[in-house]
């Protein structure tokens, strides 16, 4: 299937939003944010204003500052878990394509197994065994990403194996590893990048979902998911508590999706659905 609708300005818009997030995450390390995160009961549950762009929470903390600090948790978990997927999945897929046999079989059965678990279920199960926390979230989301990349690389690698330049390399006596990394990898790299942007957006939502149910980043570190959880009981009096962390989440996902489809269009790549 081909992406149906590609916004022409999608890449630029997406990149700008992502840069804003990166800037937010970095600037949230400065002292100004510590001050905004201190408790000030006199300023509790204030609606958005010039002084507090996103309003304040039940303890008078600045919601904008909390959202900014939450960027770190969100991007941190998403990048690490997709990183796990890339580091394990890509070599696995390359090997399966270049060598086939046992590696291929193990990969096929392994991905069947992982895909049998709805994504969050694996995380719930892991936190039952390991206890909740950012690390559990990274592992759970990361495990889910491994077969996504492995299958993508394997599928495209297999068709590359029939191409002349690979055949001639084999005739020249090059080994499996050399073929996998010198010939297959450069040719699947763009596909992998496109898939990685999609997986990042899925990972951000997964992290927020886990934090929302209390299995992700633990307090007191702010995270978008937990902010939304805390917003729920206060929603009637202070709806902005539910708006801004959610908007931050949605914009991050939208930006990554835009960048992903723009890249896919640029490389004229067909990005298969993650489990098909």
């Amino acid at each position: 299937m081909t992406p149906a609708w590609r916004p022409p300005a999608g890449l630029a818009a997406g990149m700008v939003v992502l840069l804003v997030y990166a800037a937010l995450a970095l600037s949230s390390l400065t002292a100004a944010f510590d001050a905004a995160l201190t408790i000030d009961i006199g300023a509790r549950l204030l609606a958005p204003s010039a002084a507090h762009w996103f309003g304040t929470d039940a303890l008078g903390r600045d919601v904008f500052a909390m959202v900014a600090v939450g960027t770190r948790a969100s991007l941190g978990v998403a990048l690490s878990s997709v990183g796990i997927g890339l580091l394990l999945g890509v070599p696995l897929g390359l090997l399966a394509a270049a060598r086939g046999g046992l590696v291929d079989d193990v990969l096929a059965r392994g991905s069947d197994l992982v895909f049998a678990f709805p994504s969050l279920l694996l995380a719930v199960l892991l936190s039952a065994a390991l206890g909740p926390g950012a690390l559990t979230a990274v592992i759970a989301i990361g495990v889910f990403n491994v077969p996504v990349f492995a299958r993508l690389v394997r599928g495209n690698g297999l068709s590359l194996m029939q191409r002349d330049f690979v055949l001639s390399a084999r005739v020249a006596g090059r080994g499996t590893l050399a073929i996998a990394f010198d010939h297959l990898l450069p040719n699947v790299a763009t596909l992998v990048v496109v898939q990685a942007t999609i997986q990042l957006s899925l990972a951000i939502v997964a992290e927020a979902s886990l934090s929302y149910v209390g299995l992700g980043v633990q307090p007191p570190a702010p995270s978008w998911g937990r902010m939304l959880n805390e917003a729920q009981t206060l929603a009637s009096g202070a709806p902005w508590l539910a708006w801004f962390p959610g908007l931050a989440l949605a914009f991050a996902v939208l930006a990554l999706n835009l960048v992903g489809s723009a890249l896919a269009a640029r490389f004229a790549a067909r990005v298969p659905g993650e489990a098909s």
């Binding site: 149906a4 609708w5 049998a116 199960l125 939502v205 729920q232 989440l249 939208l254």
Partner: protein, 856 residues
């Protein structure tokens, strides 16, 4: 394809269906007795012996329900007869003669006698007694037995409050034969008897049919421990609990008061909430430092920030609703400048560092965060340490190893604690002690009032602790539950007069078997129909067999993985399930009971064998078969997922068709742009926004909860509507984009052009020719979506407090009920795998090219 192979497909499919039916068709539970209620309890009692512990949670469960004293305290705070039918006091106030009620029996059948009363009081005042009221009994010189039903207390000096003390939970009457086991198996005389205590989960009581007084109108009461304040509301909305005598989330009380399903009763307690100071430790031995702390703390801010305005500020250790109360809240006004000046004077111009140890109750944890910030403003660097009750009792209360702590002293008339030597405040003042002794000798009301006022002023003057607020009693319970106390003049949740309206059944535990069975039957029939369709269209047996084998392998692998994670990884699952305070005997018993004492591979095989028979074992926390639990929860989750799937299709199909009519035109761009936006909205956030709009603003739907299918089809569907929308919208966006793309491709094909040339309108061509072809890839997405909908339902059920499988899974995870966790997870996995299998079968039906597992 030959006829043999056609027939060959039958048994395998039948096998698959049978497997599914055995998983889903587990018998549902019979409804529980209709007159029991489940009350939420924020803290689990450390034990159930009220004569040996000062823990309020123990009193909450046992006082007035299981155990009774000679006297009792009414809701209005007055002394009334209980086990003693009458009494007389000598003129000098030194002799109290009690006459017991005849015919009273303990729950074990033994009769109550004066000897039991004497034994209980002797035990409380004995040298090694851990009874918190032991010191109050010091003036008791002797206890004389007169006959079976009469006894006399002889005092060394008058104790004006004696009849009140005897009505408190620590001085209840036990029998010598059973008191030793009271910590785990309490036997009293009260309107309820003890049934069982499931550690970490619940304490269960049942009506005492032989009660001497008016028998309880409820068949039983379960105190369920809900330790997390944030899940308290969800538990209430989901019907997991019927109410709370002390609701731990004040932020939700205002909204609950407007909810017609609940009664909110805000009353007062005897709980003085203190920022307790270790007066014996430097620098807090300096009154200037203590006063600096008092000036630095803004009570109003704490009441707003931590208690959402519930509770009354106090200036000394005395409840505002008492007639003898003196308002001292202005003695130390909130004034950081004065606080800093006092610190300078005391020799700490740059402040100092201290540790604030916080026990688990929400008021302590929340106030602590605010106080730490406020003390920071005057230069005191506060390190917060969150500790459990057991640690608090050991470190703070017993060993006095602390700087500051926050705790509510809920005992009534407890100003005597300031005269106790060795009490954890480390306070001693001879003037205070003398006045207290005088008070105890005095029975004249006017003089007592004056003395009580002087005691309050002395504590404020010495600034022993920072007095924060009187703890409110936030009662929230189902509207049809009555007779619970609004006020709390004494510790304990008194349920002697509680009753339910009419013949209402209770909670969600009574979801009837009928509808569950019907839902399952409908699903099974649908699957059967699909299977029959697939067979009629000549699906090759070899293909079916291959796919079924892969499916079985996946399920086997998944079950092994689950078993490894749940049963092997945590080490000893029995110890894990029992939690921190388990003893080896109990763990061994549990291990035997759940078959955890055999080798892991045998446990695994037993689990699998049971699973195939629909026997998923017995839940550790609920003590009912897991299959029953799953059946009840499935009756919520499955309709929710199907509802969402239907909505998703209903949204996506017209959108894709409308967009594909004029490719690249404005409508196409707008619709697909919207889909791109919708894709970015996580379902749980959408759920929150729906609640904000349709529950909070418009009041069209309840913010959460599920009335059960018994309440009728429409109310049930209504409760599932917002959750289904939240689940469906993001999925519809994906589906619409895929369908639109496929329609675009199909429109360019020759057969569509031919159809157009034949004279069909563009819309007709789209519907009759392009759509069927676009449906094939859409089927993949729909199959995948079922997996997403199930996973999504886990989160959405939390957002909307629905008693579905996802919520069961989270509860079981939190309660460490591994028996439930592993089976629920495997069931969800099986559902996903089976649906994908069925989708593959369906391909073969709609697209003949795929029948032998080729092409794709």
């Amino acid at each position: 394809m030959n006829p043999a192979s056609r027939r060959g497909g039958g048994p395998h499919l039948a096998l698959a269906l049978l497997l599914l039916a055995s998983l889903l068709g587990a018998p549902a539970t019979a409804a529980l007795p209709g007159r029991t209620v489940v009350l939420g309890l924020a803290l689990e009692p450390p034990n159930l012996d009220p004569s040996a512990t000062s823990a309020e949670a123990t009193q909450d469960v046992v006082y007035g329900n299981i155990f009774e004293g000679l006297t009792r305290i009414t809701e209005q705070g007055r002394v009334a007869p209980a086990l003693a039918a009458s009494w007389s006091v000598s003129d000098d106030g030194l002799r109290y003669r009690f006459t017991l009620r005849p015919g009273v029996r303990f729950h074990d059948g033994s009769p109550l006698t004066a000897a039991d009363v004497r034994w209980s009081l002797q035990r409380a005042r004995a040298a090694g007694s851990t009874n918190p009221l032991r010191e109050l009994l010091a003036p008791v010189r002797a206890i004389h037995l007169i006959d079976e039903l009469n006894l006399e207390l002889e005092l060394s000096r008058p104790v004006a409050e004696l009849l009140t003390y005897l009505g408190w939970g620590n001085l209840v009457v036990m029998s010598a034969a059973t008191a030793a086991n009271a910590a785990t198996a309490p036997v009293g005389t009260g309107p309820y008897r003890f049934v069982e205590w499931r550690k970490g989960d619940a304490v269960v009581l049942a009506r005492n049919a032989d009660y001497w007084g008016t028998p309880a109108r409820l068949d039983g009461v379960t105190f369920r421990i809900v330790p997390d304040a944030s899940s308290a509301l969800a538990a209430l909305l989901a019907g997991d609990v019927d109410g709370y005598a002390n609701f731990p989330a004040p932020e939700s009380v205002a909204a609950l008061a407007l909810d017609p399903r609940f009664t909110v009763a805000v009353g007062s307690t005897e709980g003085e909430t203190l920022l307790a100071i270790n007066n014996a430790r430097k620098p807090f031995d300096d009154v200037r430092v203590r006063r600096a702390l008092a000036h630095a703390v803004d009570r109003r801010a704490i009441l707003q920030g931590a208690m959402y305005g519930y509770g009354e500020p106090i200036g000394s250790h005395f409840p505002p609703h008492d007639p003898a109360y003196v308002d001292l809240t202005h003695r130390y006004a909130f004034d950081p400048a004065t606080a800093r000046a006092l610190l300078r004077e005391a020799g700490y111009p740059n402040g100092f560092a201290l540790t604030l140890r916080l026990p688990p109750p929400y008021y302590a944890r929340r106030s602590g965060e605010i106080i730490a910030a406020e003390l920071g403003a005057i230069g005191i660097r506060v390190r917060i340490e969150n500790i459990e009750w057991a640690q608090w009792l050991e470190q703070v209360f017993k060993n006095r190893d602390f700087d500051l702590t926050i705790v509510s002293h809920t005992e009534p008339m407890d100003y005597d604690i300031y005269a106790r030597r060795g009490y954890y405040f480390g306070y001693s003042n001879a003037t205070y002690d003398a006045r207290l002794a005088e008070l105890s000798r005095t029975r004249e009301e006017a003089v007592r009032m004056r003395l009580l006022g002087e005691l309050q002023r002395q504590l404020a003057e010495d600034c022993v602790n920072v007095y924060l607020f009187e703890l409110p009693k936030l009662g929230v319970w189902r509207r049809d539950l009555h007779g619970l106390w609004r006020e709390a003049p004494v510790q304990g949740i008194n349920l002697s007069g509680a009753y339910l309206d009419g013949a209402a059944t209770v909670g969600t535990s009574s979801t009837a078997a009928g509808p569950t069975g019907r839902v399952l039957a409908i699903v099974a029939l649908g699957i059967l129909a699909l299977g029959a369709l697939a067979l009629r269209r000549h699906v090759s047996a070899r293909h079916l067999l291959g796919r079924a084998a892969a499916l079985a392998l996946t399920l086997l692998g998944a079950s092994a993985l689950i078993f490894l994670l749940v049963n092997v990884l945590p080490g000893d699952p029995a110890a894990y399930m029992m939690g921190l305070n388990a003893n080896p005997t109990a763990i061994a018993h549990l291990r035997a009971q759940y078959g955890l004492d055999v080798p892991a591979w045998r446990q695994y095989l037993q689990w699998l064998a049971g699973f195939l028979h629909g026997d998923l074992g017995l839940s550790y926390t609920y003590r009912v078969p897991v299959a029953d639990l799953v059946g009840q929860r499935l009756a919520v989750s499955l309709p929710l997922a199907l509802y969402a799937l239907a909505l998703s299709l209903a949204l996506a199909l017209p959108t894709a068709l409308a967009a594909a009519r004029r490719p690249g035109k404005v409508l196409d761009s707008i619709l697909m742009g919207l889909a791109q936006l919708g894709l970015a909205v996580p379902n749980f956030w959408l759920g929150l926004l729906l609640i904000l709009t349709f529950s909070v603003q418009l009041h069209w739907f309840a913010a959460g909860g599920f009335p059960g299918w018994d309440a009728g089809l429409l109310p049930a569907l209504r409760a599932l509507t917002m959750p289904a929308v939240a689940l469906a919208v993001p999925q519809a966006c994906i589906l619409a984009r895929v369908l639109r793309a496929e329609l675009g491709l199909a429109l360019a094909e020759d057969y569509v052009r031919t159809a157009r040339a034949k004279g069909l309108s563009p819309v007709q061509a789209l519907r009759r020719h392009a759509l069927p072809n676009a449906m094939i890839p859409a089927l993949t997405i729909i199959g995948l979506q079922f997996s997403f909908l199930l996973a999504g339902a886990i989160i959405i059920e939390t957002v909307f407090a629905l008693p579905g499988l996802g919520r069961l899974l989270f509860q079981a995870t939190a309660q460490r009920d591994l028996i439930v966790v592993r089976s629920v997870v495997l069931l969800l996995v099986a559902a996903v795998v089976l649906v994908n299998f069925l989708v593959e079968l369906l391909y073969a039906v709609v697209d003949p090219r795929l029948r032998d597992g080729g092409a794709r």
